[in-house]
Point group: C2
Chain length 297, copies 2
Amino acid sequence: MNDTLTAVAGLRVGHWTDRVGQTGCTVILCPPEGCVASVAVCGSGPASRETALLAPEKSVQRVHAVVLSGGSAFGLDAAGGVMRWLEERGRGFNTPCGPVPIVPAAAIYDLWSGDPRARPGCAQGYRAAQAATSGPVDMGRVGAGTGAKVGSYRGIEYASPGGLGSASAELAGATVAVLAVVNAGGNVVDPHSGRLVAGVSEGIGGLSDHFAGTEGTATTLVIVATDAPISKAEARLLAGSAQSGLVRAVRPVTLFDGDTCFVLSTASGPGVPLVALSLVVQELVARAIVAAVSPPP
Amino acid sequence: MNDTLTAVAGLRVGHWTDRVGQTGCTVILCPPEGCVASVAVCGSGPASRETALLAPEKSVQRVHAVVLSGGSAFGLDAAGGVMRWLEERGRGFNTPCGPVPIVPAAAIYDLWSGDPRARPGCAQGYRAAQAATSGPVDMGRVGAGTGAKVGSYRGIEYASPGGLGSASAELAGATVAVLAVVNAGGNVVDPHSGRLVAGVSEGIGGLSDHFAGTEGTATTLVIVATDAPISKAEARLLAGSAQSGLVRAVRPVTLFDGDTCFVLSTASGPGVPLVALSLVVQELVARAIVAAVSPPP
C-alpha cells in the first residue's frame, strides 16, 4: 500500500538529490488539467514564488506543479525548469500564445549542509520533473530534504538531520495525503507520546528553550493533497489546518521561520465534509513530519 | 535634470531589451544595504516572486533589487540572474553561509508581441543588472516595456503599443519617483485633461466598454521609490496609493489583470508626512503611466 503523497491518484513526485553538495529539490506534478490550490505562508521568513496568485480572491484557479527546494531563495530557480518541462508537454494555463504553467515554489535554507554553493537551479528542477513517478515517495534525506536540519533554534551546532516525509489516509472514500520537508528550528516530537524524535534533547518546553538560532534559516514546507473536490477558499482554510498539524509535531515553532503550507485538490474523488478533512490533515501533517526524521526502513 | 526613478539617490536601473523577440526585463538595483520595501498585488492574475516576504509582518525588512519582466510567468527566471549578480558582489540578506539577495519580481504577459518563445531568463536578468546606471531611465519600448500593449480589453486586435515610463518630484527636500510598465487592459488617459493618450479610441467610459479581452494577459507594474524614511508597513500603505494613481490613468482597470505595485525607500533623505507622500505618489504614478506611452522625444 502507498502511504505517501502519491496515494492521491494523478499526482507524481520526483526528487533531484545532490548528496555531495547536500541539497536537492522535489517536484509535485499535478494531472494535466492542474489542481485547485492555495497556500498559507505562516512563517515570517519565506522564500517563495507564485504565492500571490494562490490567494483565494485571485483569478487563477489551478496550478500544474509545486516545487520545494533547498538552496535558500536561490533554489526558487528550480521552478523555471519545471515550467519548461510542463510547457514542452503542452500543460499550463491556456493563453492565446500557448500554455503558461503555473508553478508555485518555496525553498528551505540548507546552506549549512555540504557545499553552500550547491543549489538547485533550472536544470535540476527539470531533472526532478523527469524523475517524477506515481510510486511511493522516497523519504528521508532526499530531494528538498537532503540538506535539512532540525533543532537549530539552540544554535546550528546542536541541530540534527532533518528530511522529507509523507503520509496518507482514506476518508469516507476520499484520499488525503501529506508531504513535508522538515528543516525546523524546533525539535520534532511525536504528538501522541510526547517523545522527542529529533532535535536537541535537553530542555524541551522548559525554561532553557532559549532561541540561539539565526533568523530566516529554518523552515518546514508542507504539501497537502486530496482527491476530494474543494474550492480555492477551502484550500486556503485547509492550509491553515496544515499549519496546526505542524505545530503539533514541531516544538517550538520559532517566529522567524518560513513555514509554508500548500494545499492541492485533484477534485476527482468523492466530496467529504471540510471539517473532517481538516482533522485528518492535522494528523497527517504531524505524521509526515515525524516520518521525515524517522523514515521506515 | 533627472525626472525618472534614478532621481532617488542610490538607485540604479538597467534594461535588457530584445527588439526582435519583442520582450525584455528591467532591474532596479538598491544601494548595497538594500531598501525598505513592500508591495500591493491588486490585480487578480499576478505572476510574482518573493512577494510573500514583503507583507508587513514578515521579518525580512530590506530588498536588494526588484525585477520587472516580460515573458509572462516564464520571465520570473530573470530574478535568478540578478541574485547571481548581487551575490558576486557580496550583497544580500546576511546569513552564516553568505549573503542571500532578496529580489522580488513581477512579470507582464507580452507573448502577443514578436516571438512568443522569446522570454527573459537568468542570463538576461544578469545582463540587465550589468547595464544598470544611475542616469535617467530610458523610456518607451525598452526593458520590461518592450512588448507591452494597452487597450487589449476590447480584444488584442484593438490594442496599441504600451511601454515603460518614469517620473519624479521633490517633496519638502525628499525625492519621490515612479517607474511604470504599462501593459494595461484598459486605455491610458491623461487624468488632468481626460484626453485619450493610448488605447482604443471609441467608447471610453461609455456603454460600449465591453470586455472582450483575455483573462490574465494584461498588467501594469509600478515601482515607487523615495529617499524619505518609511517603515515596511508605511511602504505597504503607499503601495495602495500607487494603485490609486494607476486607476487615475488607466481606464477601465479590468478585474483580471495582474497589477502589482512595489514601494522602495532608501531611507537616506529627510522625513516627510506620509499623507503628503501618498498624494505625490498618486500623481507621479499617473504621470509615469502617461509617459510610458508618450515618451519625451
